[in-house]
Symmetry: C2
Subunit: 396 residues, 2 copies
């Protein structure tokens, strides 16, 4: 087990409609000047927008709407200006991962004189800055941003989608599973895949003998595997939405990475897809994950893949190689049954022209030749992209 | 899943000898007047005491030695006086659960004019008080106090051993697995049983459909089950000590209770044993746990016991009742193999004269007729104590 530091001060308020009593004091503890950050029309259609505005009645509320999926640096620039011009005391983010990711970087950018893209490229500079406290109301179970230090911001001009982190996780996060009842099936599926991918990235880790982390992750994976199909079948199943929501938070709040080496693989590969083609992050992960597994399975790794098969998928048998292959197939089938497109052409990526550039960037940004469980060079990454062009066939 | 709030600010520093660089700034961030709380001779024998004193050189350090297992209210009273007389800024606790438990209550008692036993009896008063920040160096993997709000304090005069909680968890906790290399086998065993019991208390919970919590707990239990025997066999096995130490913290830092109803059973029963006979807490838990399981297994509960058997003990078979019984036997055998005495007479409790009084108190203090997964009245508790007088026989 590796040495680690864990310190996460986010105050989680989990349950139905806690905002009614708790939102105003949670926000107002930091001051009266609020920047309200959100996405599109969904929180207006659902009534959440009106409820929040009512609860903040009398406070000075400036609005930044229109945060898009794969949030763009231009939105952060807009937020920086509003935060400075109105000298906001607190940012209230209402939405999914993209909205909260943007809010967290805006919270730093208020205290930065230059272009906030600098803070995305150079997180270590960012951690030296002050940060406006962020309160959020989460509306999608997926990224875990509601209880961590990270954000992912895209720059369409440079084809870059990069992770950054700040000095603080959100101050208060409201997690109300009922707010996810109206999430469409494709987003529920992509969000569930995002959770599963976070867990897999941390499970297939190079640190030795970290059974605490592995055991925690196995339990979280079983919960996600069980409840994602239920949420798709019955969108207002509270238990399904609750397990996915808390599972998403637990998957990426720092707990299960403690004692790991934390070299991620599939996310850097996916970030290139989203940066070049602006596809849904969870869909890209769904396509790439089984191909990465097929690539990564070898004599050195099959024992861990077999453990994954036994402890997560309840597979039996003493033959590690067989169980490992069955585990990859089970993973593929679970993703496919969520309704996620399983090839790149299905999401509009019809040719391989950018694969080498994307692979080069993924290896460089993700240090894939140095830090992951299975190290990858550019050619390896290209082969994984190419394998994603057609369905996997397990009857070979 | 039940509604919950989770907020835990403890700053965990996990790994070998981090105190060398990090202890002084961790303490001094709160001030220069330190109350150093510890137990007996073991930290002097190991050299840890001298190392800590060296690292705090130049600060104003007042010492409170002699904190006993099942820490006594008199030690808290002594600490209260020292904390007030020296107007301490920070308390540094060096030791196991008893030392840290006492330090946390002393941290509140500095700001209380009356007898600190009041704060044990009435935690809700205590949460309104200020609290001196506590920094700790943990030397035993067991109670989880290093990352939670709780303490258990004994009052020998009144035969009471009661849980209390304060407004804050420790500010900084140093978790160095190598400091537990010298823990004797019987304490390693009792500590491991304490961890396992914390997990079982939260696993057999009345909240429905909390698969996140159940999955996390199953993973932690597998880690403890695997590594406790290794630590007994090879006391300086780093991986074993690291998994036990982080597993102990994770078992009781609030994470795995989130979304549960949290009615505990075996701990209230054990607290009576320790209060009347001052036996080792983990030993009492080891004796009582399998008897509670036998009592609690019935048609309503067997599905969960069977899940426990399959996901924790890797038992197979479709017959829930059979798997449930095998799981109880596996639990008993694991405890016995740790070298824990398995009957009350083996720890000097030769007769049943106090059982009714103890059972009455356990039901009252633990609200055992209201909150647990399987509710218990006084007669039920007496029957569990009586069943603890002789070994369990699984070949009946």
């Amino acid at each position: 087990m590796e040495d680690f530091r864990f310190n996460n001060k986010t105050d989680i308020r989990f349950g139905r409609n806690r905002i009614e009593e708790e939102l105003r004091p949670a926000v107002q503890q930091f001051g009266d000047r609020v920047l309200l950050v959100y996405g599109g029309q969904s929180i207006k259609r659902s009534g959440l927008y009106d409820q929040v505005k009512g609860l903040l009645n009398g406070l000075s509320v400036t609005e930044l709407p229109g945060i898009a999926p794969n949030p763009k640096i231009d939105s952060v620039r807009d937020g920086q200006k509003l935060a400075k011009d109105n000298d906001v005391d607190v940012i209230l983010a209402v939405g999914g991962g993209s909205v909260i990711d943007a809010a967290k970087v805006i919270a730093s950018a208020k205290f930065y004189a230059g272009d906030p893209w600098d803070l995305v490229i150079n997180a270590s500079e960012r951690t030296k800055l002050a940060q406006v406290p962020v309160v959020d109301i989460l509306t999608l179970a997926a990224t875990g941003t509601e209880m961590n230090y990270g954000s992912v911001i895209s720059n369409p001009e440079t084809h870059q989608k990069l992770g950054t982190y700040g000095p603080n996780s959100p101050a208060v996060s409201f997690l109300d599973p009922t707010l996810t009842y109206t999430v469409p099936a494709n987003q529920t599926a992509a969000g569930s895949m995002d959770i599963m991918s976070h867990l897999l990235e941390q499970y297939f880790d190079a640190a030795g003998a970290n059974d605490v982390s592995k055991g925690l992750i196995e339990g979280l994976m079983r919960a996600v595997i069980k409840w994602a199909p239920v949420a798709l079948e019955t969108p207002d199943d509270y238990d399904a939405r609750a397990n996915l929501m808390w599972g998403a938070t637990m998957a990426l709040n720092g707990i299960v990475r403690s004692g790991n080496q934390n070299g991620w693989t599939v996310h850097p590969l996916e970030h290139e897809l989203s940066a070049y083609y602006d596809i849904t992050h969870g869909v890209g992960l769904g396509i790439l994950t089984p191909r990465w597994m097929e690539f990564a399975l070898n004599a050195d790794t099959e024992a861990l893949f077999a453990r994954y098969g036994r402890n997560v998928w309840d597979l039996r048998g003493d033959d590690d190689q067989m169980v490992a292959n069955q585990a990859i197939e089970a993973t593929y089938n679970w993703i496919e049954n969520l309704g996620i497109p399983m090839t790149l052409p299905e999401v509009g990526i019809a040719d391989e022209k950018n694969f080498v550039a994307m692979a080069d960037s993924a290896v460089s940004v993700g240090r894939l030749d140095v830090v992951p469980y299975v190290k990858l060079n550019t050619g390896d990454v290209v082969s994984i992209y190419k394998a994603s062009m057609q369905p996997l066939n397990f009857n070979k």
